[in-house]
Structures are given as structure tokens and as C-alpha cells.
């Protein structure tokens, strides 16, 4: 439900708190909060808790839709087994301050959780969630969203996008959901002028120029085909030699979505839980027979790259990477996905 001629407003900065206070009365609001020099999306009760001086949150906001540990249902042991489903997440939630790249990751994750098997846990939360994004005025050193023809100030995957244009926010309403949110608090907003629109364009240009690292993807199909033919190249082994095999890159990736399901029990009761899993771990593909189809770090490192840049585009016509740079920032040994993909151009089959 796209709104034709997207509506544009401005919100004076001093009115932001008032707006958020109004939102808090209707929604559970999650916003960037600082903790030990890191930013996390946490539920807030007061606008003063919000910290907007950040580029990327430490853990991507996917954690709000696809929790690291999610209880699917609870049960009791013994003769009279009782199963209690977890209450569905019917609360209306709103993520305030999500970055355009992280918002895009939700659209990418949708393919998995909305696919052949509809995941009620994810989908209920997604349905009840509103995204109020904030443009990335100052992308960080490893930001490369522009390599995927995206923009650090794109409103494409949010419901409402705010852009800091000095003393006010430029507000873009992307769809009906966003329109309703703004309508309900319309008094605070004034229609944007052409001058405001130009200011947003300036911000966008500046942000674009700040991004200096680029992944060399001229064409998705060409990349997919290239990866097809270099699957067995020694290139992957060389990269994987230095991989430590930790899960930092996958856990902190906004599009990684693998999970494991386990029953955790005491003598009398238990719960079936779903937890994040990582293809970087040997156990991830270990068969009950003891055979492991991805026995080496090479197989696992290659899988991470191929899942994002080959399998996903083949299955869902989109690269499963948004260019947030978290895996690069957090790799203890500088395995750098920009470098890895860019250099595939020179790899011989």
C-alpha cells in the first residue's frame, strides 16, 4: 500500500520528544540506547533515553523480530504432559531510529519467514511493527549500502523516515501505515517546503560522498555466475586460513537468519526454544552419523559468502547483504567482505 506522491513534512527538533511521548502512549517503542559505548535497540519509556549519536547499533535490530532466544512453547514432563503455547506478540511495537540499511534487512528476512513455511513468531511481530527510520547522515568507514544501489537516506523500507536537516527533521511518509501514524499526531508536523526538500537532497549527497568504500558489483547476475564458476578455487581456502571460526560475523549480520531448535528441560518442566545458530560452527552441519559435509573452515567461510551473494539472489532475487559493515567492524582478523567480493572479479576458475 504505497501512498502516491509520498507525503513530506517537517518536524522541528524541539517537538521530537513530544512526538515520541505521544507514540509511547500507543506503542511499545524500541529506540537506540547507549550502553558501555555501544548502541542497542531497547524498549524506552522516556524520550530522554534515546541516543541518536550513532551510526550502527552493536546488535542489528533484527533481534526485535527474530530474537536470539525465543520460547516457542512450554511443557511439563511426566504422565500428564501439558503444553502451553507462548502468548502471541499482539502488542503494537514501533522501532524508532532504525537505519535504512537495517530496515532493508527486514525486507530481506521476510523472504525466509514468509516463504514456504510461514513463521508465526516472526510474522506476528512484523505485522504489528512500525518502522520510523532515521537517515544516516554520517556513514561510518565500513558502510557500503550504496554498492547495492541503496541510499543511506532511503525511505524505501521504513514506514516513516526522518532526516536531520539542521534544526528540524524532514519527514517522509512511505505508506499507509506511516500516514496513519503521522495523521494521529498531525499538529506537530508542517508540510515540507521546496527548501526543506533541497536540504534533504544536500544531506543525501553529503552522506553519499562520505561512503568511500565500495564493493565492486556491476551486475548481480554477473556476480552470481562468477561465484558459480569459482566455487572450487583455492581463493576460499586462502581467506579461510585466517578465520578463527567464531560467530561474530553471522550473529551481528542483519540478514543472517539461521536458527536451531532445542528442548531445554528440568525434571518437571521444559521449553522448546529457538536460538540463533551460525554456519561458522562445525556443529552446524554435523550429521548424526558423524559425517560433516562442511568439514573445514574453508567450506564454512565460503558458505557464508555464497549464501549472501549466490544462493539468496538465486532464490529470492536479492543479495542478502545490506552493506552495514558490521561483519567487517567485528571480525577479529580482518576478513573483509568488501574485499572478498571485490577480489572475486580477479579469481580464475
Amino acid at each position: 500500500m504505497k501512498v502516491n506522491n509520498m507525503e513530506k513534512f517537517v518536524l522541528p527538533k524541539e517537538k521530537l520528544s513530544e512526538w515520541i511521548n505521544k507514540i509511547i502512549s500507543t506503542y511499545q517503542v524500541f529506540a537506540p540506547v547507549k550502553e558501555e559505548e555501544l548502541i542497542f535497540f531497547k524498549q524506552i519509556k522516556n524520550p530522554s533515553e534515546i541516543d541518536l549519536e550513532f551510526v550502527n547499533s552493536a546488535v542489528p535490530p533484527k533481534v526485535l523480530l527474530f530474537q536470539q532466544t525465543e520460547t516457542l512453547f512450554k511443557f511439563t514432563n511426566g504422565k500428564n504432559i501439558q503444553i502451553t503455547p507462548t502468548t502471541s506478540h499482539n502488542e503494537k511495537t514501533l522501532i524508532f531510529g532504525i537505519r535504512p540499511c537495517d530496515a532493508k534487512s527486514f525486507s530481506i528476512l521476510d523472504h525466509v519467514f514468509k516463504g514456504d513455511y510461514k513463521d508465526p513468531y516472526y510474522l506476528t511481530k512484523r505485522k504489528n511493527m512500525l518502522l520510523v527510520g532515521i537517515s544516516c547522515n554520517q556513514p561510518a568507514v565500513n558502510c557500503f549500502c550504496t554498492s547495492f544501489d541503496d541510499s543511506p537516506t532511503s525511505s524505501k523500507h521504513v514506514d516513516v523516515l526522518l532526516t536531520d536537516i539542521g534544526d528540524k527533521y524532514y519527514v517522509e511518509v512511505q505508506n499507509e501505515k506511516g500516514k496513519q501514524l503521522v495523521e494521529s499526531t498531525k499538529k506537530l508536523f508542517t508540510p515540507a517546503t521546496e527548501k526543506d526538500s533541497n536540504k534533504k537532497k544536500d544531506v543525501e549527497k553529503k552522506a553519499f560522498d562520505t561512503i568511500t568504500r565500495h564493493m565492486n558489483i556491476k551486475n548481480v547476475d554477473t556476480l552470481v555466475k562468477k561465484l558459480d564458476i569459482i566455487f572450487d578455487a583455492p581463493y576460499w581456502k586462502n581467506i579461510a586460513m585466517k578465520c578463527l571460526g567464531c560467530g561474530a560475523c553471522t550473529y551481528l549480520c542483519p540478514t543472517c537468519h539461521c536458527f536451531d531448535i532445542q528442548d531445554e528441560t528440568t525434571l518437571t518442566k521444559g521449553a522448546r526454544i529457538r536460538i540463533w545458530d551460525s554456519c561458522m560452527r562445525p556443529e552446524y552441519t554435523l550429521h548424526a552419523s558423524g559425517h560433516n559435509p562442511r568439514p573445514g573452515r574453508m567450506n564454512r567461510v565460503r558458505n557464508r559468502i555464497y549464501h549472501k551473494y549466490n544462493y539468496y539472489p538465486k532464490n529470492h532475487q536479492v543479495i542478502a547483504c545490506v552493506g552495514c559493515g558490521r561483519c567487517i567492524d567485528n571480525c577479529p582478523v580482518n576478513i573483509d567482505i568488501i574485499d572478498v567480493i571485490t577480489k572475486t572479479a580477479e579469481v580464475k576458475p
Binding site: N142, T210, L244, T250, Y251, V333, N334
Partner: protein
């Protein structure tokens, strides 16, 4: 710091040897202040080797990450040695592994680098947050000298050094086959200042402190995988039957994980700080290890990773030990 020319020459000679499989050193990273491990299989590969105060990694970890796929019929095991470049703290990890018989001395070759201190990436990145081009660093007296976009920056070492380096007692590798340059005498002393402050806190306060830290843990196990001494064939956290630690990521399980890891490193941790550096959640893991290190020093007058001939602390006893329960 080390003469890079000498490093390359020695590494080149080493790789060329028939009994050496490869040599692990450092090379320039992909951006900013990054340096990355470099595996040299041929003498030409060693041309990429560098050594600078940005060489943070403890490369000893790669001894333990060496994969040995099952041999095909008729295939012989590759018994060639692996060479590695180590700093003072890294060398202590190697000694510790040798003590534990995790490695055989004849299977490794060590290029030792007397170390004058390494830059904490967090500190330098905070100073120059948007550094795309790779940067060279030099050391001049008490300063680090950076040339960034044509401008020279002189920054006092104290401002940028890792905390561990400020108290390093063993800057020269305690074990090496080839030592580059002159040994540096350790002039600093580990005072455990931060640990003493933390020890003084009330139990409740300590619990509050660690709860806040462990709550953030995402169990990516970067701490474990970056640690050269975490080399169990199957880590306790991966075990499924019995499952000692649940997969649920919550304060209780996170606490168990982090404390078990610290305990398993008791008397073994060489204090390289790789766990804390690798942690994406900024959990001050060295505080745990340092506390145990301090206790062990006080109780047993023992320091891990100094003498490969010595037995590991928890695998030995002394007949004259005053503790009656032991004998």
C-alpha cells in the same frame, strides 16, 4: 620496533626450508589501522610481511586451528613445521601449550619479536574514526607517529597502548628459534590496579557489575576462538549430551559460560588479551583472567607460560606443600 627487512629475510629463509609448511606473520589490512594475519607458503609471500605496533593478533592461535583432514589411502601425513611470528605475550601462550603437550616443540618454528607495546584498536579508531586508507605507524621515542592523509600526527604512546602493554613484564619472547633484534628487558610491573579496585567492592556490587557485562554477551564465542589456549577438541559449551550449558542466551547461562571459560584458563592464561579484543560486546574479559592470575601468583607463586619444561600449575604438586589435604 623490529627491522622489517630482517623479518622478511628470516621468514623467507624459513619458508624456503623443506621441513617448513608455512609461516604465519602479519600483513597490511584492508582499511584504516587494520593489520591482518598473513600465511606465507612461498618465499614470495613473505614480501607482504610487516611488523608494526598495529600487529594485535596472537598468531599462536593458528597452531591450534591447523586442520588435519583424514588422510586418503596411501597419503602420508604432512609433518612439516609451522612457523609463526610472536610477541612477548604470544610467546607465553606457546610455552603454555607446549607445557600442556598441546603442541610438540619439533613441530613449530618461532620467530620472536621483542615488543615495545601494541596499539589498542579501540583507542586509535576513536581518535581517527573514518580512516579508509591503510595507515603506517612508526615508533619514535615515547610517541607513535602516524602519517594520515599527508599530515603527521605525534601521539604519546601512553594514550594508545593496550592496558596489558603498560604492565607487561615479558616484552621479549620467552621462547624463540629466531629472535629479531636485541632483547628488551621488562621494566614494567603488573600492579593489578584495576583488579584491586574491583576486589574492594562489596559482593553485591561485584555481582551487579558482572551481571551488566554478561547480560550483553551474545555467545558468539569470539573470545574462545581468538584464544590460543582454548583448544579443547570439544568445548563444553558445544556439548549436547550431557548439555552442561544451555543454548538459551540469558544472564544465567551467559554467566556460566564466561565463568567456566575463565576457570578453565586458570593458571594457563598468558594475558594476551585477545578474548577482550575480539569481544564485539566490549565485555572486559581480561579482568576475569587477571583476577585469577593474581590469586594464583599469590597462592602458588606461579606465572603461566614461562618455562616449557615446567608442568602446568594444575597438573603438579610439591611434596613440601604446606596444604595437608593435598598429600
Amino acid at each position: 620496533m623490529v627491522n622489517e627487512k630482517q623479518l622478511k629475510t628470516e621468514a623467507k629463509k624459513l619458508v624456503a626450508r623443506d621441513d617448513v609448511k608455512y609461516v604465519i606473520g602479519y600483513e597490511k589490512g584492508t582499511y584504516g589501522f587494520q593489520v591482518t594475519p598473513c600465511f606465507a607458503f612461498t618465499p614470495e609471500d613473505t614480501e607482504r610481511f610487516i611488523f608494526s605496533p598495529l600487529c594485535v593478533h596472537n598468531l599462536a592461535v593458528y597452531f591450534m586451528l591447523e586442520e588435519k583432514p583424514p588422510l586418503r589411502k596411501g597419503e602420508k601425513e604432512d609433518t612439516r613445521k609451522i612457523g609463526v611470528v610472536v610477541k612477548g605475550c604470544d610467546a607465553r601462550a606457546v610455552v603454555q601449550i607446549l607445557q600442556e603437550k598441546g603442541l610438540k616443540r619439533e613441530n613449530i618454528v618461532i620467530i620472536g619479536v621483542p615488543c615495545t607495546g601494541i596499539i589498542d584498536p579501540k583507542k586509535i579508531n576513536a581518535k581517527f574514526p573514518h580512516q579508509v586508507k591503510t595507515v603506517d605507524v612508526k615508533e619514535e621515542g615515547n610517541n607513535f607517529v602516524f602519517n594520515i592523509n599527508g599530515k603527521t600526527h605525534n601521539i604519546p604512546k601512553e594514550e594508545l597502548l593496550f592496558e596489558k602493554c603498560k604492565q607487561c613484564e615479558y616484552p621479549t619472547p620467552v621462547i624463540s628459534d629466531i629472535l629479531l633484534g636485541e632483547p628488551i628487558k621488562g621494566s614494567k610491573k603488573e600492579e593489578y590496579k584495576e583488579i584491586k579496585t574491583l576486589e574492594k567492592k562489596a559482593l553485591q556490587e561485584k555481582w551487579k557489575f558482572w551481571s551488566k557485562e554478561f547480560e550483553r554477551c551474545i555467545r558468539c564465542y569470539a573470545c574462545r576462538n581468538a584464544c590460543p589456549l582454548c583448544y579443547c577438541k570439544e568445548c563444553i559449551v558445544d556439548q549436547l549430551s550431557p548439555q552442561w550449558i544451555q543454548r538459551s542466551v540469558n544472564l544465567s547461562e551467559n554467566t556460566v559460560w564466561n565463568i567456566i571459560r575463565a576457570y578453565h584458563l586458570a593458571g594457563r592464561c598468558s594475558g594476551c588479551g585477545e578474548c577482550e579484543r575480539a569481544c564485539p560486546m566490549n565485555i572486559p574479559l581480561t579482568k576475569l583472567n587477571k583476577k585469577i592470575e593474581k590469586d594464583i601468583k599469590e597462592l602458588f607463586e606461579y606465572i603461566a607460560g614461562l618455562n616449557p619444561e615446567e608442568k602446568p600449575l594444575l597438573a603438579m604438586f610439591k611434596p613440601n606443600d604446606t596444604e595437608e589435604t593435598i598429600l
